[in-house]
Symmetry: C2
Subunit: 340 residues, 2 copies
Amino acid sequence: MTGKNLKIEDIGEFGFIRSIKDNCLFSHNGTIKGIGDDCAVIGPYDGRVILISTDLLAEDVHFILDKISPEDLGQKAVAVNISDIAAMGGTALHVFISLAIPGNMAVNILHSIYEGIKKACRLYRVNILGGDTSASPNGFIINVAVIGEAPQNEVLYRSGARPGDVIFVTGYLGDAAAGLKLIKEEINVPEPLASILKKAQNLPAPCPEAGRKIAGSMLASAMIDLSDGLLSDLGHICEASGVGANLYPADLPISDELRSLSRIKDIDPFGLVLSGGEDYKLLVTVPDKNVESFQKLFKGGNPCYLYRVGRVVEEKGIKMISADGSEKMMKAAGFDHFRN
Amino acid sequence: MTGKNLKIEDIGEFGFIRSIKDNCLFSHNGTIKGIGDDCAVIGPYDGRVILISTDLLAEDVHFILDKISPEDLGQKAVAVNISDIAAMGGTALHVFISLAIPGNMAVNILHSIYEGIKKACRLYRVNILGGDTSASPNGFIINVAVIGEAPQNEVLYRSGARPGDVIFVTGYLGDAAAGLKLIKEEINVPEPLASILKKAQNLPAPCPEAGRKIAGSMLASAMIDLSDGLLSDLGHICEASGVGANLYPADLPISDELRSLSRIKDIDPFGLVLSGGEDYKLLVTVPDKNVESFQKLFKGGNPCYLYRVGRVVEEKGIKMISADGSEKMMKAAGFDHFRN
């Protein structure tokens, strides 16, 4: 295949990002972090930094309008952006909503989407300060840009993980992917199981309080939010930090609901936990010496439960280490828009 | 027509924005300006404020991939955002690029679009700090979010115009709309006329230096960039300031190229000048007592030529006043995505 005939689906999302990320900085003045983390970081201003992130959701790619309520869609579009600010330890402050709208779209659906957006904004205490409204010849698109703040010295990047650090996640994994599977494949399971798993997909609950607490404690070394899937997002931490990781499958947090589903429908939960994506929980690495103090921060599950799932190691790659000591090297198979 | 069956094309872009703009602020802390100007304004930080704006361009709505070079498209997507920061008097610093890409789109076209984006970023000295890359089932979408800065007391809003103020624009109007007409209707005209007008459409030249100079001088009362068309954008100033305006058609700046086109093809230039849009020049109002000092700032056309086109008046509405003294009340017919 020659360069001229290469399609975006041939090089994939991450291949494309790698191919354009050079020469993006024209002035380093005021730029603390550009492409390559959950948010860009600019400043400092008065001892604070500004965090910015943006997420685009496309109809029939990220959502199917028949399969998610308009209000849930609006809430989700905001929530996934809140998660990016949480992943750096910041406080989200403002969102900007760009919509591309087919001309025949019903105004009451758009108003319900906006109800969801505003509901999420009240929940996460952020303002809607602007955006853009365009016609769309095909399909509904929603792009949210989010602005947050953090104290200058309390920002956590992907690049700080060091060999020996303990890896934690802040909630159950795989439920959202299980919900998507139920929705897409129209699998019937009893209530309330179906509703709980579909809700994990349609109404993600990010961890902004946990993100701020973790960054403010100065006890962690790196953080990312779990949007593409555990292996993929842990892979981003490993790549940015120049390290590898061991995961202990027996320690991966799996909800009772996902266990029930896997039993009823003979579905392997580990595929969903490792590569499902859209968990919007945080993955944190903590130096060994800080682990005890770190765990005390989350006593009684407040503001969330912590699950210890692995350890950062020197050797590159992500390895699964079973209870019987057997090892398996994993491929970082997360979500790629053009390859799944 | 009942509310339930109402389509977005029935209420239009501005009707939709009016219908969702209430209850968008959950905390006024740190918010100087939300929805309703060229940019949102947050801060202050260290005596400075942060300006944010976002513009979404959709295939077959804002551009036709066969009719604009990919590099021009990339440049234009950045330039129109630079114009929003210029309209508040700020300095653009960073952009964030969200793309929704059809899976069969050629990588070399995407790379050419990015070449254009980077070319514009070098020209306007802004960094690309992030974005998002998504699949698109139908059509290519590019959303740019831009971040800028300004000294806290040197920001110009739409709301400051007062009766008696003189209205200026910072360049020729109507060329971009004429270029679009040539492209869309496949009208043939001799070179270099065709190229010059098409370039005005495909490669807009915003006025960032003029914007900063105007705001920094503290001599102007209001400013906006001309993206929707003179009548529509002047209408935004009038609405935000609670005033009206008189325009003098004989004073409207029309390029030699647009005059030639109107002669050759019997096209009325005033329709394009008044309602064409995409000029990306600035419209400024200046209190009478400051006009002389203001004009001196732009001596010799540096950094741009100023054209005096009208006057702010108390009486609401926009009136055209001809050389013979006859008056005509205008309807603010600018671009609406769902009604043109």
